[in-house]
Symmetry: D2
Subunit: 296 residues, 4 copies
């Protein structure tokens, strides 16, 4: 299979279940909503070493938000609901409540699982917090020095999928990187997914396990082109750099749509040689996304 | 005392000692260095609920960096050295090693306190990591799918100061917020300090303690203008919003310079009525920054 | 009439016919498409002193563009078709052909009026340009040092409307300015319109004519709050600053939708006191947009 | 000669004299100063088809500006002083006076050549403009709807140099483009120069003349790698894309410093094969910048 002359490997991405909550952050302008969203989703690339995996799902305008102001939807992901509840409490409390002019609403009101994060945050009001109804939502109004902070009482969460992915093999590092950027541009236009790594891109794809027993993951040596002389790299001679796009999403459909849009975008960048995907013989997870089927 | 017609209160900012490390992140372009720096300093506003306080200190060009590429210096802060070592390990490992084209160097090579963070990260190379000398620095070269990651063996840390601050009192929320933005613009031009809150600005200044025993800090009720009718707010009638700028720095001098530049910038914004500072009768810390002396 | 407590004047915006062309600029990434789009629409606020009125209509992703790459649609406006043809030739030739990785396609293929701008630009190929069919479009491929530039043979143009507008009256300058920014955020989400002034905002609303015979327009003295002591300003005492949003669009419907979205967004910003519109007793143009009807 | 393994051709850049003025634009925040600066320097790549060549020279903070607010310095260039005077009048009148919260000051107060642009713009005040002294500058205060606009009476201009340049030859388009971006990053840190093309980069380097008599310049066929099969391209086989950086500056020294910084930055990007420069047997201009001497 080829797209725009770029070969698409007949393989699949391996992914795993994760718990996730969507938070709608609004502010006086889109710019301030994004400032809060970036802070709240920072240091959130992988649960291997971060307290959560997090990213900006999409920008939303006043016609789509609870309070009619511009906003950004973010997704926060953890392996278990207990950790997710903590992530919500600390990321909203430290990065959204503290940010200029923001409010925070649940983006998963229908979910069975609900956390009373807003209620817990409301105690910051030191007795002056007030429970109110706002456009059908049960919210807390917390007095701040800069104005009132509005936060929804409950935040819903669901089981989604983490680790959807594809790999971009390039003639050189800049071709592969620009293709990765184009892929992330395309994925950001779609709802239901995030790409939690820096700029949406992974420079350091890993394999499960290591020669060091204290490490659960290590560099994906078979794809490291600087290890050619060590006879470890299995990539074709013309490839000199590989970037990975990792996608977390609310559903299989959302991840498939983002993989499709991202791969198509990457294949329009000159110097891209091949698209493949990362899988780990089932050691990582139960979900499989075959590239050829995703691209149908 | 007045600047540009804005009254400067005769009071002081109360601050406290904190441990901090500077990391120089370089990349193929300034844009990619900033992507990594933002991810590595995210979810890093206050040690009350974040694993560290962190921010971008300044952008550096090729003439100032170890490898001649453009970069960004960041500061990472924790109350103790043990936590700071963890912060370095996880924030560099999860947010810089994973970011496209980056390298990471110590920005405090002379410090007495040194952590072997680079050595620990090097095990990700699964045996293929190499120790090298690069422009006088002892670095590890770790093979990645996208290219090699260079990280310095040791990262230095010092005792600095957290909680330098001033408050901007505005005729309305947008005047105070724009003044806060102008203040942060000015502070970002200076080396030696960060403003760790979202966009550099705190919307939710707090007091020490709360009526709820489980809370160490709660909203600064005396400055909440929406609590006027409760006879709690002590601000003048014409003030309707207050934003705080919190500054962490490597030294008293650095914090003073940033407070001075930030206050001057804020006082050029129409609708700003007064500048004051937050202090807590010594409950927060041992450092005092009197506004009038800082502005001399 | 009120929105969110902000009074909406019962008046109308006065606008006039203008000729306009839409150009779809694509590039390897959204960022590079936007760089070209910004350069091509720069120095393009008002035909009073610029060679055209121009702005970015919207960002488009690969599913919406002719060549499947990310892009930006721009609108270029002139009073007559002859000037518009010149604007297309020079703005595309100097700012898009010269920009990294771009291509340029017509965004009004169905229009009766068509200019052979692409054919004219193709001569830059010095005999090596080639005429081709690309996804149903008749394009020229011009060899450049950096790669080939693709430009459509013909660019269509229609008669649209310029000067749709509304005015934001604020308690102070920062409130009115932030509301203007929020309005522009909202308008940019909609297709069919541009806000050609810097950042989408006019700081210097004008009246038709002047005491100086050589000037066709001068400052709108009745709305200048610094002229209160001269008894010239007719605004209420509590207003201290007024910003104007000027909107050009492809149709009455497009301008109405943008006015509605922009006004709603502005009315969510604290410190906004009133919305009105600019009209000139028919001296400016034949189109009227009554605020109350637009907001129905 | 080599830098970082990249060959530097032993050739020179050919440049020509041009008239230029520096304008200091200030605003309430850096962001608004940049909005005005971008609009005022847009559609300003080459005097072949634009009314001026223009660009942002540098960002300046409150300690460097006339009114103590943040700002941006821009350079506007024309072949003759008469055209430059027009450019100042129209670009400041249409793009700076109209932009939120801006002021405009001369950045060349010592120059012999002075234009009374500020005085001319002041008539927009319709008789309510006032002449004042502001921090030693002779300025006009023009009442606007949004507040007062401050503009200096006189703007100075000098003879500078246009067309300083170098070419980046890459293994593929993305390598050459990223190197060009890195070069522009480095040049933007230096005062005294601009890179007027979109994003600072030229994708369409030209030769003087054409087979078509009506064209003064056409694509630089000898460097077009898609013309290899036509036996027109003279580049080595491994080169597949070439981008040019064009630099205008206030002096030989300024252009040399920017060429040096830009070339060094480009040579740090993987996939860059060679640096050369464009010259035209003296047909373009009298200034020569030999690469090896510039890099000493």
């Amino acid at each position: 299979m080829e797209i725009n002359g770029v070969q698409i490997d007949d393989t699949f991405a391996e992914a795993f279940p994760i718990k996730m909550a969507r938070v709608q952050i609004t502010a006086v302008t889109e710019r301030w909503a994004l400032e809060a969203a970036r802070e709240a989703t920072g240091f959130g690339t992988s649960v291997i070493g971060c307290s959560a995996e997090a990213g900006i799902e999409c920008i939303v305008d006043g016609s789509e938000t609870v309070d009619g102001r511009p906003g950004a939807n973010i997704l926060i992901c953890n392996m278990g609901y207990k950790n997710l509840e903590n992530s919500l409490l600390f990321r909203l409390g430290q990065c959204v409540l503290t940010a200029p002019t923001t409010a925070a609403f649940s983006g998963m009101t229908e979910a069975e699982k609900q956390f009373d994060t807003g209620k817990k945050l409301s105690f910051f009001g030191d007795g002056y917090q007030k429970n109110e109804n706002m456009n059908g939502r049960n919210v807390w109004k917390i007095p701040l020095m800069s104005g009132d902070f509005i936060v929804e009482q409950s935040f819903g969460a669901i089981e989604g999928i983490a680790g959807g992915n594809f790999l971009i093999l390039g003639q050189n590092q800049m071709a592969a990187l620009t293709a990765a950027e184009a892929a992330v541009d395309a994925i950001r236009k779609l709802k239901g997914t995030i790409t939690p790594f820096p700029g949406g891109i992974v420079s350091s794809g890993s394999k499960v396990g290591s020669k060091y027993k204290f490490l659960k993951a290590s560099t994906n040596t078979a794809f490291c082109t600087s290890l050619r002389s060590d006879n470890v790299c299995t990539l074709a001679e013309d490839v000199s750099s590989v970037f990975e796009i990792v996608i977390n999403g609310v559903s299989r459909e959302a991840i498939q749509a983002s993989m499709k849009a991202g791969i198509h975008a990457a294949c329009h960048v000159p110097g891209v040689l091949k698209i493949t995907a990362a899988n780990y013989e089932g050691k990582l997870g139960i979900h499989q996304f075959p590239l050829h089927r995703v691209l149908e």
